[in-house]
């Protein structure tokens, strides 16, 4: 942390989080969407998860600056927002590659060869689980049960589910998106 942002001076605290490179502000369209989200709930706090999703769409990932502007619109303390962001696994807290491979590792996928598949993908991409390829194209994650057990092994490729994976089909999907 090296910046002073808004009223919160975080310059002396290192949370191991990254900063967004430029200024972070909601677009006009996002502001309108925020109002639409608020209308769906009896109080502002309930809109926390949807607004964080909106923030992921707007800014790609949740940095401290993003947490701050989320806290601001929700009128909640920053620490509450930070608690929420860190509790859930789906809000990225660092930049991801252009494509995000989320490979399921739980029981049904494990029984159907998920371990071999993971090793195969690691080999093709030349990275470990949790890393992004140097060209920024792919991030590889391993996740717990995607609820795609009947088509195991399965992965979530960006926002699409792909099941019945084989080493060949995975290699093809990676090649086609390279």
């Amino acid at each position: 942390m090296s910046q002073t942002t808004g009223t919160h001076d975080l310059s002396t605290i290192d949370y191991g989080m990254q900063d967004h490179p430029g200024p972070v502000a909601w677009s006009e369209a996002a502001r309108r969407e925020i109002d639409a989200i608020f209308a769906k709930y009896p109080d502002k706090s309930s809109a926390t998860l949807p607004i964080l999703w909106l923030a992921v769409r707007e800014f790609g990932w949740i940095s401290y600056q993003v947490e701050m502007i989320v806290a601001e619109v929700l009128e909640r303390p920053l620490n509450e927002i930070h608690q929420v962001v860190t509790f859930y696994t789906m809000y990225p807290r660092r930049p991801l590659g252009r494509h995000h491979i989320q490979l399921c590792r739980n029981i049904s996928c494990w029984l159907s060869g998920a371990v071999d598949l993971r090793e195969h993908i690691k080999q093709i991409l030349g990275i470990e689980v949790g890393e992004t390829t140097p060209d920024g194209r792919f991030t590889l994650s391993e996740v717990e049960c995607l609820a795609y057990c009947e088509c195991a092994p399965a992965m979530r490729f960006d926002d699409t589910y792909i099941g019945n994976l084989t080493k060949d089909s995975v290699a093809r999907i990676i090649r086609e998106n390279s």
Partner: protein, 434 residues
């Protein structure tokens, strides 16, 4: 074979309003509105429809717990946070027949007099979320939802709420906390959600599949629906069958179909004609069954009688080549990862269980580790706010007790700990520095 909630799966564009209406969607709403909310609730009680998310609590009775004297608004919260490993049924309803779910929500909201319903969908479910949102938009413009439900003086709004990746949010009070914009930390019960749920208001939390059956209860009548199932489990239900079977998939079958029939007839038997070793009958948290225990009717009571549970009806089949300790490692790692961290026995206990199982697998097991697993697990059971602790511990106890010999084998592979003293320390011998 009779099909209810899955009857439209496979019909072209079954998720669109026009096709769904052609296949009966919303045809039961009128009949429901012709009944009083109390009569409707009685009909559901008579149907023996149980909560199909896992707990199996009778649906109608849950509705009847809402206090009548509260001035606060009432809510229906739909649990679509399907996340129990081995379970993948609710997504079929949401993807292929979202209007059936909306119809079930409308009828339930009338029964409990709620004017707003939230569908809490797990964050990874992109397609189900898109389909639900599309269905709600279509229903709104057709006058099915909104200020007047199909012309009745009954306003209803349905909101899709996207989760963000936390298994614990499938637990109803954790789900409510999450819906309120907090960490999904389960609440101590009582008060139950029926009395103090979302925003401390009376709330009914029901699973997707449960609500999808509600229109059929109205259509057939409670007694006819009950007659389809067993004594205390009405109707049909969806079973997800996965693992080492030839035809994994989601099947709608009468409650009480035997596990043997499911594995060998419905799912086409074991891959490669291999022998069956074990079955997880109701999602990852259910205690495991040995191959000789599969002549059991798949309903809540029969499985409870033999020390397991039906839970979410996610059947996972393990053949003779599967190593039970390794399977346990996969599952216990999941629970250690998904513990919300609120209660110490669960937070610490699941991590210890995972650590012990992992060291057994990595040939670093210590004498007494198998008993330690059971001891740690027993210290979790019953000592936590929510059932996640039990969900982690009960399988551990069952895997270790039923397949102890395999754990012993792994333990025997353990290498002695390689520890060398920094310098010789033989007592009595002179030691020179250096």
């Amino acid at each position: 074979m009779l099909k209810l909630v899955t009857r439209n799966i496979g019909v072209q564009d079954s998720h669109t309003l026009s096709v769904a209406r052609g296949h009966g969607a919303y045809s039961r709403v009128e009949k429901a509105f012709a009944m009083t909310p109390e009569a409707l609730t009685q009909e559901v009680i008579a149907s023996n429809l149980r909560g199909l998310g896992g707990a199996g609590f009778p649906a109608g009775r849950k509705w009847s717990f809402l206090p009548n004297d509260s001035p606060k608004p009432r809510y229906l919260v739909v649990n679509a946070d399907e996340g129990e490993p081995g379970t993948c049924k609710d997504k079929y309803v949401m993807i292929h027949d979202p209007h059936l779910l909306l119809e079930g929500i409308i009828i339930t909201c009338w029964a409990i007099r709620a004017h707003r319903a939230y569908i809490y969908v797990r964050g990874e479910y992109d397609l189900p979320i898109a389909r639900l949102e599309q269905a709600i938009a279509e229903a709104k413009s057709a006058g099915i939802l909104g200020d007047k439900v199909m012309g009745h003086d009954f306003p209803l709004e349905i909101v899709v709420h996207r989760g963000a990746g936390a298994y614990i949010c499938g637990e109803e009070t954790a789900l409510l906390e999450s819906l309120e914009g907090k960490r999904g930390w389960p609440r101590l019960k009582p008060p139950f959600p029926a009395v103090e749920g979302y925003m401390r208001c009376p709330t009914v939390v029901n699973n997707v599949e449960t609500l999808a059956y509600v229109p059929f209860v109205v259509e057939m009548g409670g007694a006819a629906f009950a007659a389809l199932g067993t004594e205390r489990n009405g109707g049909l239900r969806m079973y997800s069958i996965s693992g080492r079977v030839n035809k994994p998939g989601v099947y709608e079958l009468p409650v009480g179909t035997s596990l043997r029939t499911m594995i060998y007839d419905v799912a086409g038997g074991i891959v490669g004609g291999r022998a069956l070793k074990a079955v997880i009958p109701g999602g990852s948290s259910s205690p495991i069954l040995r191959a000789d225990e599969i002549d059991v009717p798949m309903d809540f009571d029969s499985l409870a009688k033999i020390g397991s549970m039906l839970g979410s009806a996610g059947v996972v089949v393990l053949d003779e080549t599967v190593s039970i300790p390794e399977a346990l490692m996969v599952l216990i790692r999941f629970y250690a990862h998904e513990s919300c961290g609120q209660c110490t026995p669960c937070r610490e206990g699941t991590a210890w269980l995972a650590m012990i199982v992992e060291r057994i697998i990595h040939a670093k097991g210590r004498p007494g580790d198998i008993d330690n697993l059971v001891r740690v697990a027993r210290n979790i059971v019953g000592n936590t706010i929510c059932p996640l602790g039990d969900a982690a511990a009960l399988p551990v106890i069952s895997y270790v007790t039923k397949f102890r010999a395999e754990f012993e084998e792994w333990l025997a592979k353990a290498r002695p700990v390689e520890a060398l003293p920094l310098r010789p320390t033989h007592i009595g011998e002179p030691v020179t520095a250096g």
